[in-house]
Symmetry: C2
Subunit: 308 residues, 2 copies
């Protein structure tokens, strides 16, 4: 049987409103919004969009509102041939939304609306979508749904990658252990990996014994570290002046998996991933400046002085 | 030549986010949104939607973002056969949006985004749309654009109705006088009419001499007062327990004009308008509970003990 290719991203699709005001109003007052940007986000959607743009076959399981269907965001996904057939569509709740307000002093206030994201809990494992792909990536979303999906994916013989991200605190130790047990690749930033080690009272070797054979710690502009077998591989980041770091991590994950499925060495996976991320940080938004495969490869070669 | 029927509403189409949180976060903190409702609003759009639902041929000139086209809101308008051909579409700004946040103590904070609404200023008078209708209604929007549109409509022999609403403070005296000079029907709530009289240092008779032959003062549950010739007509409101009064005024205006174009007496126009408004206040949102003509007529007859 032909090996199934492609990546399924499970987790949030979200809308981000980036809002600038002169000052935050006190209660019972109002403020004019100076500028407002409506950006596309959500960790799973970021992974699917970046993956699809660099040439990976991707599909997406997110919980969204009815209005999402045929919205501009959805149309973008369809244009990239992202398979959205297994989206969970809420009847009465809107697509998860984040409002990030910044005032003249660069102080911030954020409001998060989970909305349709609550539907994950009572939704069935997306088995049909899982069966179609080679890698299942569990992003920020619902811990329980991720856990169930991870178990099912492992059972189906899929490669499972897991990135709890800012949802890490939503996992109790039992659930965290369970998801980690069923994953092959674990992604986290410096703080998240430290926190996982701490919560589970293990070191990196102990963490690998629990499940993942590859652990990737991303450290922003300080590069990334990959733990595999008894190896520890350090890779510098492709440095670009950062306008907005949000989405860099998700783009790294999508590109790393793409490169990994191509059979590249872990070192080259990290280099390619870092090159893709360097495009994302150059512009505001998680999906605003995604390079194509050629552009990312070319910057990777230039930066690391690699041969063609 | 056959007389042209129908109403053109000029002014804002807007999106309203009604957001509930436990408490407002301080700077550099975040809050979870408990519930969020995305409602359709904007005074001109409210007038067009209500007008169309009760059977009036309506068209709309608003300044909106690119994403508005084929959005759910736009599709609703098209379903009601509202002519949106002359919408002003901003290339880089979104549709005007209001965020209204309420905390557990019922304190409120509001954020307003004018966005595409800024495009009115540099836009040409919508002459084509004006020529097609019998009444041009100037709602909250841009004072200068309203003023120019009012002059052109008057020149074209149209009935001009004007409702400055909460934008009243944006009109300087000269502009206010100019718009009023070119209108036939002036709408305002109790406070707004008082403020207009005060600003222009006139009484009701003096205001009528400036331009409008009909002045309608709406006073919420206390009914409305119509000034015409030397008459003063008081009409009780159709009382219904109010869940949300927003949009009541706009629905009153649309229905009054509808009835007026049907040749009803001013008293009956006010009764019909009050009946329609009584539906709007029953539900949250400006366009959520619009009755059809028959429902509104039936409630009007019941309340005022009128014969069929």
């Amino acid at each position: 049987m032909k090996k199934k290719r492609g990546l399924l991203a499970i987790g949030h699709t979200a809308l981000d409103y980036i809002i600038k005001v002169k000052e935050f109003p006190v209660a019972n007052a109002s403020a004019s919004i100076e500028t407002m940007k409506n950006l596309y986000g959500g960790a799973a959607a970021n992974v699917a969009m970046v993956g699809a743009t660099i040439g990976l076959k991707t599909s997406l399981v997110s919980a969204v509102g009815k209005n999402f269907i045929d919205s501009e965001y959805h149309k973008q996904m369809q244009k990239l041939n992202i398979d959205t057939e297994s989206l969970i569509i809420s009847k009465n709740k809107d697509t998860p939304t984040a409002f990030v307000l910044t005032d003249e002093n660069q102080d911030q206030i954020s409001y998060f609306y989970l909305g349709a994201g609550k539907e994950f809990k009572k939704s069935a494992i997306p088995l049909k979508a899982i069966k179609k792909v080679e890698v299942v990536h569990l992003a920020t979303g619902d811990p329980d749904f991720n856990c169930r999906s991870g178990i099912a994916s492992k059972k189906e013989g899929k490669i499972v990658s897991f990135d709890p991200g800012q949802d890490l605190h939503l996992y109790d130790n039992k659930k965290l252990k369970e998801v980690i047990k069923n994953c092959n690749i674990l992604f986290g930033n410096h703080f998240e990996i430290e926190r996982i080690l701490d919560s589970l009272s293990v070191d990196i070797e102990g963490l690998k014994e629990l499940g993942p054979s590859i652990i990737i710690k991303t450290c922003g502009k300080d590069g990334s570290v990959i733990y595999n077998n008894h190896e520890k591989i350090r890779v510098d980041s492709v440095y670009r002046p950062a306008t907005d770091p949000t989405g860099a991590g998700d783009s790294y994950r999508a590109s790393f998996i793409h490169s990994y499925l191509n059979g590249d060495s872990l070192k080259d996976c990290a280099k390619f991933a870092s090159s893709v991320s360097s495009f994302i940080v150059e512009k505001k938004g998680c999906q605003t400046n995604i390079p194509n495969f050629k552009e990312a490869k070319s910057r990777m070669r230039d930066f690391y002085n690699l041969d063609d």
